[in-house]
Symmetry: none
Subunit: 400 residues, 2 copies
């Protein structure tokens, strides 16, 4: 029995409200040995106050040592075991551009690449064309029609696009056509049982694309990676009995939220918009996922100071959230993004939970070192939702 099987049998309705604030890539590292992390450097009086009132800890998104992408990082926070529920690269790319993936769709990520006269790949990213050029080339590919399947080609940026095949009887058991090396031609798509026709359609698409792009060097060919379909994930309504809504600015996080059954408020452009939407929809939902991007993007830029500032901006939003008196407020991240590493990392993520049922711990400021001594300890992120529901008094006793 998994923890989701269990919680499905235990949840019970009430009027409580839970707010989950995900500061993307929140955890960090000091730049110098013995120094402070971004979060420890930032002036965060409101988060520190919440840490004093609540209980803190450090979450492990997937497993010790594993740096997650946004997909597994968020699924874990929503309570799903990220090793059990994996999201294909094609689907994630489609979610990332806000493409509305349907149940019969097969999505795959495409790259424009450069091939020589013999058809061998000489640049897997086609010299990284501009995004404008990407849009032009995608418009060319949109001419392709293949009987029996509906085709969508969507630009992402630079050399990247998304291809979606929609139709009955398609399968995602198709190999990548990207050989992941140069000096060899792209691979032919081959379908495992149930996906043979899909592979055939893909090969037709690639041939037509090659013809259309022939004179477009260096963007004169395409490769495809990560054929995947909408994963079968039980919704948060089913598992938790919650009515959840996502307040996110970026398409990827809205897509991930839709994947687990959340409603999504569209048109939000800033944290202010998100807070206004939180206030506006407070009566309609009982679970609010608020995604804050800038702690991650500044970390990926390697900009320690900007990440500190992004954290301080988030801190300023805390009073407005707490003014709504959520029964449970959680502030955490989907993974760490230390500016020192300029990338997602495996380091555990500082997490705080405030409710009136918290047992006191000695944590008096929200930061990595302090959280190590918090009452939540080091814990798998996939269990955070159980704690949220428990403190929201939404879980019955297990067993008599």
């Amino acid at each position: 029995m998994t923890h989701l099987d269990l919680v499905k049998t235990l949840h019970e309705p009430n009027e409580t409200k839970i707010v989950l604030v995900v500061a993307d890539g929140l955890g960090g590292l000091p730049l110098q040995p013995g120094g402070r992390t971004e979060l420890e450097t930032a002036n965060t009086p409101h988060l520190d106050q919440a840490a004093r009132e609540g209980v803190c800890g450090l979450s492990i998104p997937v497993l010790p040592g594993i740096a997650p992408g946004s997909g597994p990082g968020h699924l874990a926070l929503f309570g799903y075991d990220p090793l059990e529920y994996q999201i294909g690269r094609g689907i994630l790319e489609a979610l990332g551009i806000g493409f509305a993936i349907g149940p019969n769709d097969i999505a795959v990520r495409g790259n424009f690449c450069t091939v020589d006269a013999q058809g061998r790949i000489i640049d897997r990213r086609a010299g990284r064309p501009s995004t404008e050029r990407c849009v032009e080339l995608v418009n060319k590919l949109r001419q392709i029609r293949i009987p029996g399947v509906e085709i969508f080609v969507e630009p992402v940026r630079e050399h990247r696009f998304v291809l979606v095949l929609r139709g009955e009887g398609l399968g995602d058991e198709v190999n990548d056509t990207d050989p992941q090396q140069e000096g060899v031609p792209p691979l032919r798509a081959v379908g495992r049982p149930g996906s043979e026709r899909t592979a055939e359609l893909v090969n037709q698409f690639v041939e037509r694309a090659a013809t259309l792009l022939r004179s477009e060097a260096p963007t004169n060919m395409i490769t495809l990676r990560g054929f995947s379909r909408h994963p079968k994930i039980p919704t948060m309504q089913e598992i938790y009995g919650l009515k959840p809504v996502a307040l996110a600015v970026y398409p990827m996080y809205k897509g991930l939220a839709r994947l687990v059954g959340m409603d999504v408020v569209d048109g939000l452009k800033s944290l202010d918009d998100q807070l206004a939407a939180l206030e506006q929809h407070w009566g309609q939902y009982d679970f609010f996922f608020l995604h804050y991007k800038y702690t991650d993007s500044t970390g990926e830029d390697g900009n320690f100071e900007a990440k500190v500032k992004a954290i301080e901006n988030l801190d300023q939003a805390v009073p407005r959230i707490r003014a709504l008196k959520p029964d449970v407020l959680i502030v955490t991240g989907d993974h760490s993004t230390p500016s020192k590493l300029r990338s997602h990392s495996w380091h555990p993520v500082p997490t705080l939970l405030v409710a009136d049922t918290c047992r006191p711990d000695a944590v008096s400021a929200f930061g990595e070192s302090a959280c190590l001594h918090g009452g939540l300890g080091l814990f798998p992120a996939k269990y955070l939702m159980l704690l949220a529901l428990a403190h929201a008094r939404r879980l019955a006793k297990f067993g008599a």
Copy 2:
């Protein structure tokens, strides 16, 4: 999906080097309530310095409360779930004496015992004969020839020896002939499907042995336990993409290292030899397993002071290891061996990891109580290799 399935898809090559120092049985207990453990008593300036620079924690070799043998303890450190990968008693005994087990071999541990005139066991250990006597008796048993199978009999010590059957079509699904009680005769070997012939060969061997030993009372019979073959374990090369080497003095640890695909440097007699080999082979490998025995043997002797001294001797080796500038240095144990208990124990094992990607914790000395507050927390030993690879920057992000 297990953590090994995952890591197999994520590892990527680079030039980093990882050193895993296993101080066997490192963890301890104070002799008096409120006192210090062996590690806390020892003067370990170099380990303390490493603890300050790195991150510390306590590893749980198998599960809370479970005291592991050397096999499961080391498998966990090498990243294998010790409940999934179990090494039969016969194989472990053969590894322990340095016998080169082949893929078609069935190994089993033998005991000399004493039987009365009716063939009933009256001493399961035959009065613990001397090891010299064990060698004489084994030489007698080596006369036994059985058509269709190659037989090896090897002394271990006192009443213990190893029997290895080599040939095509053998099976290890054979019951122990040791009834584990006195007053009854040894059991006949019975083979489950696929192992019937093996059981028949074993019964022939035992009958011949009984005849040869008839006049050798009290060592006038044998019992056999733990029929087993070389387990199928994926190698560290396959799982981690590492080129690993073992620097160990004792056969058991060399055998365990070979089992998971490590190269083994032979002929090492002391810690000095091991350090010299580490330096000599530094360019050829990227993972170095250095096994230090004396923390365990002194603990098993119940000699607190000697264990303290053994730890201090290891501490003196740390600068020579760090002079090589490993990207990741780990110092841990395969289990605890408190001198107070004179045996392996279940207590979590102090662990330190030094790399330039460690998040600071407050640990300023390497010891059990201090490690409890370290950034690694209390963690399953099987995840240590994930952390090693992460800090060696050898793992790609999981999911997009």
